[in-house]
Symmetry: C4
Subunit: 322 residues, 4 copies
């Protein structure tokens, strides 16, 4: 392998999430990026406090420049190593462009693009600072925990879409009803359906600021009915999510049970099978005790099918023996 | 087939939800109705903004006329094709009347009736506009996603009825208690039990506007207890819905498992059986990987039942061997 | 049977919940009581409106007298028929006293006791009227739907007790923390820990009236943390209830599965067994389709165990045949 | 056994949670500590009311001294008996130090440390009193009910951590967005991102005080979107907890089923096995009826596996026959 290829391979290992705790350089790189992102979020928050912005303005500016520099170098490295080692020329660059369009790369681009674009376009400085918060998206690379949420969202996406539709329609109905009933009494707060939406959203989400409330008896009656429906609106996503988590867990259990059956199918659990099985259990987030019970049951069930437990207690012959 | 019958049959295909993406005319019809309904909702919302109503009044009026025209033609066509092709005379019209009383047709009627009735009766214009929102009910024809919610609601209707009863009784109790305790201190806000209901509903649904709050120590103590109970009131529908979704999923899984057992009962999974099975899995909203695991387990279990790990103990051949 | 005993037996049938829709008199009795209770609730609510109380005062008074008369007669009849028919003298009255101490009888007593006691003691009239709401407890006799809630509450009582303890402790902690932090800035609203409890309860239940809010930065920070914890406080009862409903359904399914196994154990499902099985399924609130699937699976599984499906496709012998 | 060792052993029994209701002294000790802790909580609450503090100040002081004395003696006794009986010298004290670092001992230390430290350091008296609330932690020793919550929290800790991260990020985003949009219109309420956080937390937790609300149309639109997302924020912990409870119950059921299989594996359920099984069921919080069904099914399933409905095919005797 040429030194160049070796450098590229090593760079890829370093910029990717460290696969083992022993790869110290890769770990240092990961932690540096995470700390830098956290520092950026903190900087955005603190810089919004006028007193701090005035006093530590130069420090914030230097930190921003440094961050953009690091993130730019990081992006360049990632694009460089995106091409498979054997590929060359056009195909090499096609792979890099494809990588640039992946969600992870887009998050990296979104993290630095505003800085560079602000040179070309006049942008509201405050809005620009706010965009720096998008750098937090870079962290998704390091957060396997969010994958479970994403998986549940994905498998329940139809239900969530329906729930969202129902919610939006309920809001339109609620806003319209209150507009019809309260418009005369409070022409300012309920000046139009869009204006009444402010009340409807705050009510159906049970936030209930109380800055706008119905004052006519009919308005209060309708609002009461809408509030009761609001309980249902809050109940829908919660219950979809709850059953989604339960279903995912059941799916994971079934996967583990099939692996246990496969491992126990020859009546013997080799060390390799056990290691592999335990790794799968951990990956699926199954409790170790439960995983142990599952594989025990699979072994027992194999033996039962195989006649080993079917020994007649009277004549000593296997129950399925000829 | 007479040209007349052929026209009727084709019209039925067009006005019904397109069964295949290839029936372009039917798809165009569906999309037109959906866009028109969405446009109507938007028009109701925008027309409520005085500035827009004043400026674009004629446009809104034309759009309304056009919408009613299209919806009227649509209803007439649906009624026409509601009669089975072979039927004639009285039985033909009886079927059409029966169709007119179906929920879907009633939604279509509700969408245009207010317009026609406003010619006969003097109606509040704002209320009339609000009724146009009912046109959204026409969309249920195109929304299979809502069917799951309806199914869960149906299977848990007894629990929901009980929860609603408990909620209403709690509200009456809470309102009465606060009326007794706070009436003297706040004779306006807690003037009667119906008036106190406004506070009770806002509190038990955890909306909590804060426009009416107890001020006496005893009132605050009772209100605190009621708020704690309010958590339970929010918890009831959420938990009923959550367990309802979980139960429905379990029911779907069982249905799929029985289909898998049936398909695997002869030891062979034909292509037809596989296709039918996968279609059922998709229809029931089961994850494809899980569906695959279920059918695999069914096949394996058949083999286990059919002999010592699939080997006939008498002739030594595998049970699923040709 | 003596006419007296026959009258008593018939009275018992009438005052108890009608066991069949054909017992018209019993149905009439049940519906009368239910309507009267509902009317009483309505009367309490309406009488609290001063204008109605002034205008229809005599009507309310007559309705109250009538209700108490009916409820008194009802209670007397129930006590009378509480004694088993064969019993006499002391044992007869012992049974009646035992009945008087049952929850149902206590609810009946609570419904009329305030009226009679008000003759002996001077009681606040408004509080007295409020006590009439307790008459709603009489309805529990007719509401089997609430039994499911009671069953879930009972099986999860330990979890609910723990959740309630956590909630109360959290409220004390929150109130104390805010008292320490905000007392100086708002000596009125946060005058003591009990006073701060008002804020703590409204916040932890996410009601959030906003009549009392922290104003110091430290107070706002602590309040923010408490609000986040408040999500958890709302989550606890909801999740306990949700898993309680799911567990109850699983228990019911298991009961039905065992009944199916028992019915199918002899390979034949008699009409009697089918009727009994379907009744159990309805009583347990299991979906009819699912109940059908369960009994089918039980039959199939019996046949598989019995060797009927275990016919070797090659030699024609049963797989478990000797 | 020397009298000294016997005294130590008996002391250990007394200070530990009574293992049987018959050990009266141990029960008295437990109840005394619990009552004293409850009294302390009450004292902290009541002492915060100025009128009570002025009037009963000396009583509160004496009660505090008494409580600290009892808790100190309790801690000393616990440390003393922490060393195993056979151990001496260094190893004896090492065990005691190890005990002092256990969570339970730390709770005991936290209960009295503030009192002793207040002699050395000048501390805010109100803050000091507040610390006394930590004495409630001593109660965890007596509360097995909380163990279920702790177990669910532990098994779902990854999901909770992710949910918390999402919540915090959402709050930062919401606060930043509202800061950008509303800063100009309300420079006081939305003076900086940390200041806007107050609004964001109250909104995303659906508390909704209403002391700070957006007033610009764009602000209201963004706030509405944030409120809808807020439903999801409330839904996440609830659904994680709900599926956590369900999963824990399933795990307990599986454990009980395995125990039932083990007990039924020899075809006979001895009295010992039955007692042990029922104890496990109670400990796992499984409904007695369900536990009974599980063991019945296990027995039946053993018999089915062991021959044609429990008849040995070779000797003709029932498999579970003596």
């Amino acid at each position: 392998m040429s030194p160049w290829l070796r450098l590229k391979k090593r760079t890829r290992e370093v910029v990717n999430v460290a696969s083992s705790a022993d790869d110290h350089l890769s770990r240092v790189f990961d932690v540096t990026v995470m700390v830098l992102v956290a520092g950026n979020i903190l900087a955005v928050i603190l810089e919004s406090v006028e007193a701090l912005a005035n006093r530590y303005g130069p420090f914030f500016a230097v930190f921003e420049l440094l961050s953009v520099a690091v993130f730019t170098v990081e992006l360049v490295l990632r694009v460089w190593v995106a091409a498979e080692d054997g590929h060359r020329g056009v195909s090499e660059w096609r792979e890099r462009v494809r990588y640039l369009l992946s969600p992870m790369a887009l998050a990296d681009i979104a993290a630095i693009a505003p800085f560079y674009l602000s040179g070309f376009f006049a942008m509201d400085l405050r809005f620009l600072r706010f965009l720096r918060l998008l750098r937090v998206l870079k962290l998704t690379r390091y957060s396997p925990g969010l994958a479970v949420f994403a998986e549940v969202m994905r498998s329940q996406r139809a239900a969530f879409a329906s729930a969202f539709t129902v919610l939006v329609l309920m809001m339109i109905f609620a806003a319209s009803a209150m507009f019809v009933v309260e418009h005369e009494a409070q022409p300012e707060a309920f000046s139009s359906i869009p204006a009444s939406m402010w009340w409807a959203v705050a009510t159906l989400t049970t936030v209930g600021y109380g800055d706008v409330t119905p004052i006519t008896p009919l308005g209060k009656f309708m609002a009461s009915s809408i509030m009761v429906v609001g309980i249902g609106m809050v109940a829908l996503p919660t219950s979809i999510l709850a059953s989604g988590f339960t279903e995912l867990h059941q799916r994971h259990l079934r996967t583990l049970e099939m692996e246990a059956d496969r491992a126990a199918a020859d009546g013997v659990l080799t060390d390799d099978e056990t290691t592999q099985y335990n790794e799968l259990a951990e990956q699926l987030g199954i409790d170790p005790t439960e995983a142990q019970q599952i594989v025990e049951a699979a072994t027992r069930s194999f033996q039962a099918l195989d006649g080993e437990e079917g020994i007649c207690p009277h004549c000593g012959k296997g129950a399925t023996e000829a």
